[in-house]
Each structure stands twice: as C-alpha cells, then as structure tokens.
C-alpha cells in the first residue's frame, strides 16, 4: 500500500467513531499494543523531547527501506506514534521525504501536531524526514561509487 492508501485506511477506521472519547479510546487501544521498545532501547540518543511527553524513535535502514520503531511515555501519544509508524515505516527515503501527511488533520487531531504542542510528535516527524534525507544521500553516494 502507498502512503496515501494507508492514510485513507486509517481515516476509514476512525470514521466509526464520531465522538471524541471514542477516538481517544481507539488511540489508547493502539497505544496499549505491547509491541514497543525495550527499556534499554530508550536511550538518550533516540529521545525526542517535548515538554509534555517524550518520544523515542529508532530507525533502521535495509534494502532501500527505512523501518522505524518508536514509543512514547504517554499512551495516547504512543497511539499516535503507532499510526505514524504504520504510515511511514518500511518506506523508501524518497517516499518519506515526499509524503503529504494529511490524515492527522483529517482525523481532527491536528492540534496534536501543531508546532507548539510540545508532545514531541512534530519533532518526531521532522526527525523521520531527517533520517530519510540522510539515508537518501547515502544511497546516492553509493550509486556514484
């Protein structure tokens, strides 16, 4: 599935909930998913700090694709992280760089991504793009040699 398709899928999933509390309930469900980082992986170097909540993000680059794993100390933020990973993980650097992330907005969760909501999410997306740019340069350097 393309980034766009996954976004539409998520929007579709959320369309079942017309109440805020239900949307948040679903995010909590996603956030409760045990698949997350080991305590010893929550290292300073993976930390994206926000004054409200913290996010850890670990990238891995293999066969032209970047996969991300991540977690937050706040469960709703963790749910949002899970959504973002579903959309952006296992993608090529170019896909990530060019991605138009509109689903957060469409879900009405935009405020969680405002640059001044210091929950770490905005910095996380920025960080994902930075990794993508870095790996892309690596790729291009590789093809040149």
């Amino acid at each position: 599935m393309t980034i766009e398709e996954v976004q539409l899928e998520i929007i579709d999933e959320f369309s079942f909930y017309d109440d805020w509390m239900d949307k948040y309930g679903y995010l909590i469900e996603l956030g409760n998913d045990p698949e997350s980082l080991n305590p010893d992986e929550k290292k300073e170097k993976y930390l994206i700090d926000g004054c409200q909540s913290r996010v850890w993000l670990i990238p891995e680059y293999k066969d032209g694709l970047i996969s991300f794993r991540g977690e937050s100390d706040a469960i709703i933020v963790k749910g949002l992280v899970a959504l973002l990973l579903r959309v952006l993980s296992n993608r090529s650097p170019s896909e990530i760089i060019d991605a138009d992330l509109h689903f957060i907005d469409d879900l009405g969760l935009k405020q969680n991504l405002s640059p001044t909501r210091s929950n770490g999410l905005v910095s996380m997306i920025k960080q994902m793009r930075l990794y993508a740019v870095a790996y892309k340069e690596l790729e291009e350097a590789g093809t040149k040699n």
Partner: protein
C-alpha cells in the same frame, strides 16, 4: 456577604460557551485569568475616542490618555498600599519585573562572591534571571528547600544567610504547590541582616489583599493578565530609596533627562525604569481590572476560592492512586496532582476533549518536578468565577478518563 457567582460570571462572558460540544470548565486561571468585560470596553473607548502617545505629546488626546495612564499608577499604588506613586513601575509582566530587579539590583549591589537566596519552589521566572545575573556578577545562588508536603523549610534560612547574602527572592504563592509562603517572616529576618527581599507576587496579588508596606517587601512583582487585566502589562513595586540607587534597566525615550553622546543623565522615578512607549491602552485598561478587584469583596472572594479548593481536594483524595503535591496547611487555590501509573498528558488530552481547561506538564518549575522525580503534573486552579458544579463535572470527567486509560496502576 456571599458573592453572587452567577452575576460575576456575566462579567466574563467567555466562560459561557462550549468547547468540543461540552460546557467549558476553565480551571487554568493561575496560568492566565479571563479578562473582565470592562477591560475590553475601556480599550474600545481608547481606540475609538482618544488615543495618543503619552507624556510627551502636547495635544488633547495625548493629554487625556496621559492623565488616565497616570491615574492607573495611583490606583495600583492604592491597591497594594505603596507609599509613593513613584514606586509603581509598569512592566510587561511579572517576569520582566524580576529581570529588572535581577539586572539593576545586581549591577548596583552584587559583587563577586555575593550570595542570593531563592527557594526550591520558584517559577522559572524567579530563577533564571538570578542565574543569568549571578553568572555575570560571579555571585552564588543558594536555595531554601521545601518538604515533601510542600512546606517551605524557612527554619533553614538561618543557616543559609551569611554576611555575603544580598537579596532573597521568593514566591508569595507557589504556582505549582499552591503553598503560601511566610514572606513577612522571611522579610523580617532578612531585614535584620540588612538583606533585601523580592516577592514574586504573580500568584498572590489577586488572592490576597496585598499591603506591601505591612509586608515590608523591597520589591513585589506581578502581572495584569492573572488579575482579569490585559496581557503585556505588569507592575513592579520597589521601595523608592532602593529604586533611586539602582542603575536603569532599559534605555530609551522617557527614561532620560538629558542625552549627550558624552554623558546621559536619567529621569526621576518611576520614568527612569520605563523606557520606550509603554503599553498605553493596556495600562489604562488594566486600571479597570484593578477597579473591578477593588469593588470586589476580597475576603469573600478568597474564602470562596478556598472552599472550592478544599472541596476539589477532598474529592480528588477519594480517587484511587491520586498523588497531590503540596498538602501542607497554608494552601491557595491551585492543586497539582498525578494519578499513579497514568501519564499526566494522557489525562490532560482527554479532559480537554471533555471541556476542561487545565495545565499539564512541568508548570515552569523544573526543580519542583525534580523534587518529586516526576516528568510533569496536572494542575487545576480556581478563580472566583468557578463553581462547585464545575468541580463536580471535572471529577466525573477525571474518573472517566482514568477508566479509559486503564485505571490507576498502583504499585503495592
């Protein structure tokens, strides 16, 4: 005399609205209070009827604005019972007042090796300016700690004071713990050693009847936006003889007497500390907030806010896993808390969708967070326009949020 809260709420029409389809419950007045309607009306009048740059103008509108601007200085003087109108310096907020003193007192009186005493429960605004100054002047910062129940350990002050101590800066009311600190006692002790005291009045100016002469504070700093007034306006009270001896803080128009490239002489108080065009409309409108508070029955207001706080505290205590920070007896109208095993921000996000406006996070008081080893807290704060029914709704919503998040995870 009982207050008519519903009548008071009419002066704050913003409160009567829904957010996300839920009635707004505004429990964030300690961060910023809502503005009383008369403040807006005054600004409107200025913008529509008479506005001009003050002090230096020589025309009708400028004169009228100047007279009103200076009349607010008198109102503020009376409001906090200062001795002289020159002791009222308009700033852009409590933070600027603290910075002004840290700079101007520092440049004038602090030398290498001198000491400054703060408390462990200060707002960053009463820590960082002192750190910056201490770095510049090679001074040393010492800290009065607080106990786990939030009580400031004033008895430690004796062992902190030395012959090098020049100033103590202390919050009258802590914005996180809600503790009311014994500033009068601290000031008396400080003065007996010739030490000056700055009181951060950001949280106390509206929650007490302030009398700076009785308190005998050397400096008292506060913000208009926490007392129903406009943003961008604050007041620094300082004793005249001290302000007179201090170097100015900012340079510019108004604060000078004669400017020459070789030598500039400064204006007298209060203008010496008011460089640049002030917030003319803001200050004049702030006068309406002061008037509103003057007309309010202060005792009734404080006792109402206290009973709201006690009620909410009691209800919170019934919730499993609740941890309240600041439980000592001298408590004001903010409550900071956490629910064991639940992230404060998760609760804040859900409560927001339920219409509750509160604060979560580090509350501009990292040392308090570090004291308790937490990454943040939730804070509710009450004002006279809040109601018991709001507290009830809040408690219901909080319980619902806790349930959604899987209940308090209590480690036995």
């Amino acid at each position: 005399m009982a207050l008519d809260i519903l009548k008071i709420r009419k002066d704050f029409p913003i409160l009567d609205q829904k957010v996300y389809g839920k009635p707004l419950i505004y429990f964030d007045s300690a961060a910023s209070a809502q503005k009383v309607l008369s403040v807006l009306k005054k600004e409107e009048q200025l913008v529509l009827e008479y506005y001009g740059n003050i002090h230096r103008g020589a025309h009708y509108m400028a004169d009228k604005a100047t007279a009103e601007f200076e009349a607010v200085r008198d109102s503020v003087k009376n409001f906090i019972n200062a001795r002289f109108r020159e002791e009222i310096i308009f700033t852009k907020g409590a933070t600027e007042g603290m910075n002004l003193v840290a700079f101007s007192f520092g440049e004038s009186f602090i030398n290498e090796g001198d000491e400054i005493i703060l408390t462990e429960m200060e707002h960053h605004a009463n820590i960082v300016p002192w750190q910056m100054m201490a770095m510049r002047r090679k001074a040393v910062i010492k800290v009065i700690p607080f106990s786990d129940d939030g009580r400031l350990e004033v008895e430690k002050l004796d062992s902190l004071i030395t012959s090098k101590t020049k100033i103590i800066a202390v919050a009258h009311i802590s914005n996180t713990l809600g503790m009311v600190n014994p500033v009068k006692e601290i000031i008396a002790k400080a003065h007996s050693h010739g030490i000056k005291v700055l009181v951060d009045g950001a949280q106390s100016v509206k929650h007490f009847k302030i009398d700076v002469q009785d308190m005998d504070a050397d400096f008292y700093s506060f913000s208009s936006h926490k007392m129903y007034g406009p943003n961008g306006v604050g007041v620094l009270y300082g004793k005249r003889e001290l302000l007179d001896k201090m170097v100015p803080y900012q340079g510019g128009g108004e604060m000078i007497s004669v400017v020459k490239f070789e030598k500039t002489t400064y204006n007298s108080l209060p203008y010496k500390f008011e460089a640049g065009t002030p917030d003319i409309t803001g200050v004049i409108a702030f006068g309406e907030a002061v008037r509103y508070l003057n007309e309010m029955d202060t005792d009734a207001m404080i006792s109402y806010e206290n009973s709201l706080t006690c009620y909410c505290m009691d209800e919170l205590k019934k919730i499993k896993g609740v941890i309240i920070y600041g439980t000592w007896k001298d408590h004001s109208s903010v409550i900071s808390f956490n629910i064991k095993g639940i992230h404060h921000y998760d609760l804040a996000m859900i409560l927001d969708k339920g219409g509750v406006a509160l604060r979560s996070g580090r509350l501009c008081a990292d040392p308090v967070m570090d004291h308790y080893g937490v990454s943040g807290m939730l804070r509710v704060s009450f004002d006279v326009y809040n109601t018991f029914a709001e507290v009830d709704s809040f408690i219901v919503l909080l319980k619902k949020a806790i349930k959604m998040l899987g209940g308090a995870k209590i480690n036995e």
